[in-house]
Amino acid sequence: MENIITNNSIQQEEYIVNMGPQHPSTHGVLRLKISLKGETVENIEPHCGYIHRGIEKMCERLTYQQIIHLTDRLDYLSAHTNNEAVCLLVENALQIEVPERVKYIRTILDELTRLASHQLWWCAFGMDLGALTTYFYGLRDREKILDIFEETTGARLLQSFNVPGGLMNDIHPNFIGRVKEFITYFRKKLPEYDELLTGNVILKERTTDIGLLTLEEAINYGVTGPSGRASGFACDVRKHHPYSAYDKVEFKEILYTKGDSFHRYKARVEEMWESMKILEQLIDNIPEGDYAVKMKPIIKLPEGEYYQRVEAARGEFGVYVLSTGEKYPYRVKFRSPNFSNLSAINKLGAGHKIADLVAIGGSLDLVIPDIDR
């Protein structure tokens, strides 16, 4: 008997599964090391760095105009917003007042970016939960926005349309018409999203009370964007520190208090409605004027530290620049929303099932190149 007991000392090893770096639900090369107990997730250890490109270091040898095109490649789904952060930083540091027209166009493009990003998130979220059809509906609608981008900026994803002091180009003559067309189109299609997924009882069952994040935890982890606002963290930079033309528009900051996967989902869907409202307010009122201020060919920021934040599609995107007065920055640091959002994943996912972890990852809307930079 005693023998059996001692022989029974087969070590109770943890059942460790590597989700990623190549896995259909991580949307990129993120590696989550998961300890399982049956189907239940005990511990999640994110390992990032698989797509680290050293962008912050590269920025130290690039001029401010050149940095912009690298910020595209952080969170590629809110490329325009990231561009804008650098431009605003340079403009504020040099105290340049950009024309109203530029502000309006930037805001419109920001909101279009946000819409496109949320649409892609919606597709991917459905796919994470196993409803593959959502993917194609979302991409179909996103295509319209990408066409608008392509016509005006020349690129569909990585626009690099901002330059310090304004924009690369004026908007295309078709731009206003196309945006209006898109809004009427998407106002018809968005209720379909609700019918297909939001109302669906399976989705509700899968996401309600899953991955709870309280307000305090959201603030502690620095979870911003729709994910943070679902927990009640009023962190909308557009509302609280308005930039560009956001002080001229009326919009609601979507706030929920529960902070589960379903409300993170809901916050994003509601934000799409708000984005369309912002677009409607701005699109008819673009003032006449120049599309850029004349800048010196070599921009040198005065010595000092600068920080500029904008509301990217996934949360607060910040750029920190330490300048020594040279044409290159001495140090650049990006505060990427996804990195902070990812940090909460162990808090959110532990104790739930594997399938829930996938849903939680989807509801956080992670973009991996933004995490690793």
């Binding site: 599964v17 196993g130 669906n200």
Partner: protein, 362 residues
């Protein structure tokens, strides 16, 4: 009845008699088996390839895209091309996998689905074997497939595969119950477990109409439970692509993967044909009592087309909800079975028994 022109019984008996007259009994039996085997193999391959193509087209249209359209007109040869590709692919040997079980698993899965076909009546007299416990046999055989899935998951020595196989085990054990009970409901109405007799009993109206409310409930339950049993979405937890990469068949490649793939579609076909047989009258044409002219016109449509048409409609239903719904979680899957389907099913059986007893059915 007019559809008796499509009776294959005498045709079969002639062949049978000719064989036994001219050959020694053992050889005659062997010849018959070989003929049936070849016919079914061909049928199996063709239906499998067609269903893969159909699924891809249906899901493409549902998803607002065109689907395969490069190989042949409307891409009809796409699946043949895919099949050839899979045949030529390398069978990757897995280190530290249990070699025998690993190689055995796909065969178990495919043989299980192959055996179930034998009992299905495609027309009057057109079945390989007409067991007097046909439904029982089909249920028993089609649930053998899970053994293959469990073996595949266990022997691949892959953590994802193991989780997938365990999920599949839990899933099939519980949903088998609902499939069985919903069939029992219909057996009460038919009064027989022999598939040919069940079809005959629907001569004057399909069970879904004659059995009205309980039959419809049983049909819905059967559809849900059998979708779960065949591991198809929204119950495809065993292979849950976004969670377990490919679940139990992660490590399989080439033709072994094709076996799993084909078996999934064939299981769907079998389940749909059982649904068509016991709820929608199998090969029995649509008869409306009193409309003699209409009934005769319907009778001239060959029973095989009736059978295939009904089966394809059921398959389409299964595809439709696969491509609409998100996947359930494992505990919700079990909750759905034990909390909803099972009590409703038991209640439904009592209802059906009552209706049959009181003669309230049509």
């Amino acid at each position: 009845m007019a559809f008796d022109i499509y009776d294959f019984t005498s045709f079969n008996q002639t062949i049978d008699k000719a064989l036994y007259d001219n050959l020694p009994p053992i050889l005659a039996m062997l010849t018959e088996m070989v003929i049936i085997g070849v016919v079914f193999l061909l049928f199996y391959a063709l239906v499998g390839l067609f269903l893969v193509y159909a699924e891809r087209k249906v899901c493409a249209f549902i998803q607002n895209r065109v689907g395969p359209n490069r190989v042949g007109p409307y891409g009809i040869f796409q699946t043949f091309a895919d099949f050839i590709k899979l045949l030529m692919k390398e069978l990757i040997p897995i280190n530290k996998a249990d070699k025998i079980l690993f190689n055995l698993a796909p065969f178990i899965v495919i043989i299980a689905s192959f055996m179930a076909i034998a009992a299905i009546p495609f027309g009057k007299g057109l079945h390989a074997i007409d067991l007097n416990v046909g439904i029982f046999y089909v249920m028993a055989v089609s649930s053998l497939g899970v053994v293959g899935i469990l073996l595949a998951g266990w022997s691949s020595n892959n953590k994802y595969s193991l989780i997938g196989a365990m999920r599949s085990g839990a899933q099939i054990v519980s949903y088998e119950l609902s499939v069985g009970l919903s069939m029992v409901t219909m057996v009460i109405l038919a009064g027989s477990m022999q598939l040919s007799e069940i079809v005959e009993a629907q001569r004057n109206g399909w069970f879904i109409f004659t059995g009205h409310v309980p039959a419809f409930i049983a049909f819905v339950i059967f559809l849900i439970a059998s979708t779960a049993e065949t591991n198809r979405g929204p119950f495809d937890l065993a292979e849950a692509e976004s969670e377990l990469t490919a679940g139990f068949h992660t490590e399989y490649s080439g033709i072994k993967f094709a076996f799993f793939f084909l078996a999934e579609y064939m299981n769907m076909f079998i389940v749909a044909s059982i649904a068509a047989t016991i709820f929608w009258g199998g090969w029995m044409p649509l008869h409306i009592p009193g409309w003699e002219g209409f009934n005769i016109v319907m009778d001239y449509i060959p029973p095989f087309f009736w059978y295939m048409g009904k089966t394809l409609v059921v398959i389409f239903l299964m595809m439709w909800f696969k491509w609409t719904f998100p996947r359930l979680r494992i505990d919700q899957l079990l909750k759905l079975e034990w909390k909803y389907l099972l009590p409703i099913n038991l209640f439904n059986i009592i209802l059906m028994a009552l209706i049959v007893l009181m003669g309230w059915h049509f």
